[in-house]
Amino acid sequence: MSNKPQITTHYADGSPSETRDMTPEEIALQQAPMEPLTNETPTAG
């Protein structure tokens, strides 16, 4: 199995769905604009 992030495409017109590796350009755009949430166990407010 590939280690690259993958992208799946579903088509509303009924064409078969497909999954492929992301291109280098797509991988470059995989940048979350914010840090993920880390306070799973919050302190009492």
Partner: protein, 189 residues
């Protein structure tokens, strides 16, 4: 207003049934599963409907991640810095987890997953993707993690008059998502 009101003992004919089906409020236009970091739903927005409801259920992340949306033109995601979003969120301990962003290259649709083994759901209404106007979106989401529940509401406005025919659900990272996505059009009278 009811299309027709039946009386006791009256026969529901095929014609009546077809009329009701044709006049249902929500019409399913597409569906699919999430099984990667990014999933495209191509061609689900058409001139037939102005507004859409999108339901994501049993969404499970492979690791800590948030969930984002990008609109599509064909299979190409729009990555211009045009997404504005703001969310109120709170967890079951009463801690505020609000999020906002202005001029971002993707819209935030929440869930706020903090690790694997969690599950969430998202419901979105998307307004005017097929009209040359700002495409806007409101959504609610929830996520149950390890002893902590997170609920949020908010929305996204795309600051351009671009016409879109689909959307992409994306973690914007290595984590993948599994889950179900169903897309409905709001029937127009």
């Amino acid at each position: 207003m009811a299309i027709k009101t039946f009386t006791t003992g009256e026969v529901l004919t095929a014609a009546d049934t077809n009329t009701y089906l044709a006049n249902s409020g929500l019409v399913q236009v597409a569906s699919g599963t999430l099984n990667a970091a990014a999933t495209n739903f191509v061609g689900c927005f058409t001139p037939t409907y102005r507004n859409y409801r999108v339901v994501l259920d049993n969404v499970i992340p492979s690791a800590s991640t948030d969930v984002y949306l990008r609109y599509l033109s064909g299979s190409t995601p729009n990555t211009t810095s045009s997404y504005f979003y703001a969310y109120r969120a709170i967890n079951s301990a009463g801690t505020s987890l609000d999020q906002s962003g202005a001029g971002i290259n993707a819209g935030f649709i929440n869930c706020r997953f903090t690790g694997s083994g969690q599950s969430g759901s998202i419901v979105m209404d998307i307004f005017d993707p097929q009209i040359s106007a700002r495409t806007q979106l409101v959504n609610n989401s929830q996520n149950l993690g390890t002893s902590v529940y997170i609920s949020s509401f908010g929305g996204i406005s795309f600051d351009a008059s671009t016409v879109f025919d689909g959307f992409q659900i994306n973690t914007l990272g290595a984590p993948t998502l599994t889950g179900n996505v169903t897309i409905y059009g709001y029937r127009q009278a």
